[in-house]
């Protein structure tokens, strides 16, 4: 059986009086794709923010590869191997597309001021590698983000392509786990089907483990090994897509209508 990567124990987050997450338990094994679903305001994004170190939990523990992530800064979490995308796409809009994926390799590279000033051989080699790896992750999305696009600012990209670039940027950090926050939001059915396929490839070809927040049930159904349902900061159901989608609690809290229709 594959190795346990991430374990979350009894984790709570409060904002003032609001319990955004309550005694949450979660785990993911290497090579899994797990979806987190739930109605708006359920605490899904907060869940990601907390794993990636942007929000500090009030209690509980996060264990990644046997070590606690508590108290680490976001950059340390990324360096440890957890990368993320943002629900409201947050690219470096005025940096070029290539620069966006190059800068994401910061924590995997180490050349500093001396290398840059004296143009040492290791510096040049590293720059070359950064560039090549950047082009490689961009190439994952076909011709959309490469070629003449490489040197254009990210701001000129279409909404769907910005989402793709965000995923490429997360891939560029050479992570073990990628957290995808609503990756297909705003895409048309054809595009989201294509992206669903790519998410499968992220695991099969690139070896990433994936946690995905998604509202689009067809995407969730097609790629997830397991589904976790959050409501009001608590796990209300957990299991395969079929198990979860027939769970009466879920239907009541989240779907509000028979599951077959939404698929």
């Amino acid at each position: 059986m594959s190795r346990r990567l991430l374990t979350i124990n009894k984790l709570s987050v409060t904002f003032g009086g609001l319990h955004a997450l309550k005694d949450l338990d979660f785990y993911i094994d290497e090579g899994e794709i797990v979806s987190v679903i739930g109605p708006n305001g359920a605490g899904k994004t907060t869940f990601f923010n907390m794993i990636s170190g942007m929000v500090t939990p009030t209690s509980g523990d996060i264990i990644f590869k046997g070590e606690s992530l508590l108290g680490l800064d976001p950059n340390q979490v990324t360096a440890a191997g957890i990368a993320r995308t943002f629900q409201n796409v947050r690219l470096f809009a005025n940096m070029t597309i290539l620069e966006n994926v190059m800068v994401a390799q910061h924590c995997r590279t180490k050349q500093g001021i001396w290398g840059a000033l004296f143009q040492t051989r290791p510096f040049k080699r590293e720059e070359q590698e950064i560039r090549e790896h950047g082009e490689k992750v961009l190439g994952f999305f076909g011709t959309r983000l490469v070629g003449y696009r490489l040197d254009q600012p990210a701001a000129v990209l279409s909404y769907a392509n910005r989402r793709r670039l965000e995923i490429a940027r997360a891939m560029a950090t050479k992570p073990t786990i990628i957290l995808l926050d609503e990756p297909v939001a705003g895409m048309n059915p054809k595009e989201s089907a294509a992206l669903t396929r790519l998410i499968g490839e992220l695991r099969s070809d690139w070896g990433f483990t994936i946690v995905m927040i998604e509202h689009d049930m067809s995407v969730v159904r097609d790629v997830s090994d397991r589904v976790v349902v959050l409501d009001h900061g608590e796990t209300i159901a957990h299991g395969t897509y079929e198990e979860v989608s027939t769970n009466p609690d879920v239907i009541e809290a989240y779907l509000g209508r028979p599951a077959e229709e939404s698929a």
């Binding site: 800068v103 050349q111 000033l117 720059e127 070629g147 000129v156 279409s158």
Partner: protein
């Protein structure tokens, strides 16, 4: 950047508006504003002080210029309207001229009124700045009635002139402005040109300069006429050639473009090395001062322009550099130092300077860097002042000489060839040039490195940068340290140049001036920062350094302030903008332009397209 204002070539006849179809409110607003500005300028006594500087002998002084340009500009601006695509636009005509005249007239009335006031009331009490000569100047050395009467027609004529410029064709306008600019430029650069003509005396062109300039300063009448003619001729005939040269350069690609760039840079470098040999003391002194500020501004540019940290206490590192170099090289340091401490050679001291500045950068930076925005700015402002007060304090006074400062600092021996000190501004300039070259190289390399990209990302969105694995604290500290070291170079050179350092050499104002230089020049752009220093420090002068327009020294700060506000409103990206920064500041316009060029991609699927290179440039349906 012009998407919002698409200037359509107006080949079709545009309708003109009727003469009296005015936006009266706007006309009166501009008129009153003009009157206020004129009165303000007059009461600062600027016309009187600048009157000493003759531009064209004997008719035109800078004092009158300080008043005359305003009605013309206001008369022009009152009817300036952006031509918006899709909006009705009108031809310019008598309406615009009338508006200009009215604005000028109201402005002139402001000065008439001031003349009247000055004659009847003693304004010395509330307004300390103006002197009795102002009245004489305003009434052109005649009686007051003349003064009161004459400003109305002057305002009217100048305002009308401003309005009339709307009617001129683009070519005429260009020719006129070139004529004007060449006269003013030659008048302003008088000292430099005289200096140059002495240096190049062997060319035998001195007679030309003698013809051009009056003995006691200012252009001669015929000199001004010749310059105006030359300026307009070059505008009329030189433009096409300049255009073609520019196009040819832009058509170059790849290696030949790089080669052209390299050749240009080498030529510039050669000029900077060779030219000072032919320049006299004054110009070299000016260049040395500019160089000191280029060095400071390049350092601050790394901190503010690249890493986005608004450091208002940058002068601290300038001070640390100056004091460290001064104390280590002089025999006349504070009495608390042990007697056995030797007098170091400047180059040796520089090593200590660099180390100390870097440490100071770390120590000041570490607590400050975690703050954001305004908080950081305020705290750095405090630190800048604290460092100066420490040097001044009793506590460190034994080491720093307190208010007496450190004096008798010897110059820099360069391989026994020359001594760089204040009496030899040319040598100082070469020393500064050397360090500026280092600073340019450092900025250039760092911007295009892993660290430079991290700074960019931090500037765009600090929390996302952190989430993408960038240790923002470290990256920002690096910027702080590099900036500190560059400033300390400048300080060390200052110590050797001036021969003494005092707490007063490092007041807050220095920080502010450097920041203004960076902003006005073009934040994040090496060339911009250099241009900023040349324009501000070279022409107006630094906090303590006289510039070309020495008469302006009293109004330096006023002009800095006005310039800064104007730049923030009209051209926040600076004189020579950084491409990326311009994009940040004008993202909407940039995107519109990109859209017009068909570069914005749409959500169409490239795979489905028959021609699948992706650059379909389809407009959204």
């Amino acid at each position: 950047m012009s998407a919002a204002f698409i200037e359509e070539p107006s080949d079709e006849e545009l309708p003109a508006r009727r003469m009296l179809d005015q936006d009266w409110r706007k006309v009166f607003k501009y008129g009153l504003l003009l009157a206020l500005v004129l009165v303000f300028v007059a009461l600062t006594n600027m016309p009187v002080n600048l009157d000493r500087r003759m531009l064209i002998e004997p008719i035109f002084s800078m004092g009158y210029l300080s008043l005359f340009w305003l009605p013309a500009v206001f008369g022009l601006v009152v009817c300036r309207e952006p031509v918006l695509a899709g909006m009705p636009s009108y031809a310019k005509g008598s309406r615009e001229v009338l508006a200009g005249s009215l604005v000028g007239l109201i402005g002139g009335a402001g000065l008439s009124f001031l003349t009247l006031l000055l004659d009847n009331f003693n304004l010395r009490e509330p307004l300390v700045n103006w002197s009795p000569q102002l009245l004489e100047l305003l009434s052109f050395q005649r009686d007051t009635a003349f003064g009161i009467a004459i400003w109305l027609p002057i305002g009217l004529v100048l305002g009308t002139f401003g309005g009339l410029t709307h009617l001129l064709s683009a070519t005429t306008r260009r020719v006129l402005s070139w004529a004007f600019v060449s006269v003013i430029a030659f008048a302003v650069f008088e000292t430099v040109i005289l200096d140059l003509s002495e240096g190049f005396a062997w060319l035998g062109a001195e007679w030309l300069v003698d013809e051009l300039y009056f003995i006691r300063g200012g252009l001669t009448m015929h000199g001004a006429a010749v310059l105006a003619a030359a300026g307009s001729l070059s505008a009329a005939f030189g433009r096409d050639r300049a255009h073609r040269a520019k196009e040819r350069f832009q058509a170059l690609e790849g290696t030949s473009r790089t080669r052209a760039n390299t050749i240009g840079l080498l030529a510039l470098a050669a000029a900077l090395v060779i030219l000072p040999l032919f320049l006299g003391g004054i110009t070299n002194e000016l260049l040395a001062n500019v160089g000191l500020f280029v060095l400071l501004a390049l350092g601050l540019n790394i901190v503010v322009g690249l890493a986005g940290i608004l450091d208002l206490g940058y002068v601290a590192f300038f001070a640390i550099g100056g004091y460290t170099a001064g104390i280590l090289t002089t025999a006349n340091r504070g009495e608390s130092w042990p007697d056995w401490m030797p007098q170091f050679y400047w180059g040796t001291a520089l090593v200590v300077v660099v180390i100390l500045a870097a440490l100071a950068g770390l120590f000041i930076g570490a607590p400050v860097i975690r703050m954001r925005g305004d908080y950081l700015a305020i705290v750095t402002l405090g630190f800048g002042e604290i460092i100066r007060l420490l040097f001044l304090s009793d506590w460190l006074g034994g080491y720093t000489g307190a208010a007496q400062g450190v004096t008798n600092i010897p110059g820099v021996q360069v391989f026994g060839l020359a001594t760089v000190k204040g009496t030899d501004p040319r040598a100082v300039f070469y020393l500064v040039l050397f360090f500026c070259a280092i600073a340019v190289y450092v900025s250039w390399r760092l911007e295009r490195s892993r660290l430079g990209r991290a700074w960019m990302a931090i500037r765009e969105d600090e929390s996302v940068a952190e989430a993408m694995g960038i240790n923002t604290v470290n990256a920002k500290l690096m910027a702080f340290v590099v900036g500190a070291v560059l400033a300390s170079f400048s300080g060390a050179i200052l110590a050797a140049k001036v021969g003494s350092v005092f707490p007063n050499s490092f007041i807050i104002l220095v920080s502010i001036v450097i920041l203004v230089v960076v902003i006005v020049g073009g934040m994040g752009n090496i060339a911009g920062v250099i241009v900023g220093s040349v324009v501000l420090i070279g022409i107006l002068g630094g906090p303590r350094q006289p510039g070309l327009l020495q008469e302006f020294s009293e109004y330096k700060l006023l002009i800095y302030g006005v310039l800064l506000i104007w730049m923030m409103l009209k051209r926040p990206e600076g004189l020579v903008p950084n491409v990326r920064r311009t994009r940040e500041l004008h993202q909407d316009e940039y995107l519109q332009d990109a859209w017009l060029r068909g570069e914005i991609d749409t959500d169409s699927e490239p795979e489905d397209d028959s021609h699948s290179n992706g650059n379909t440039g389809v407009l959204p349906a």
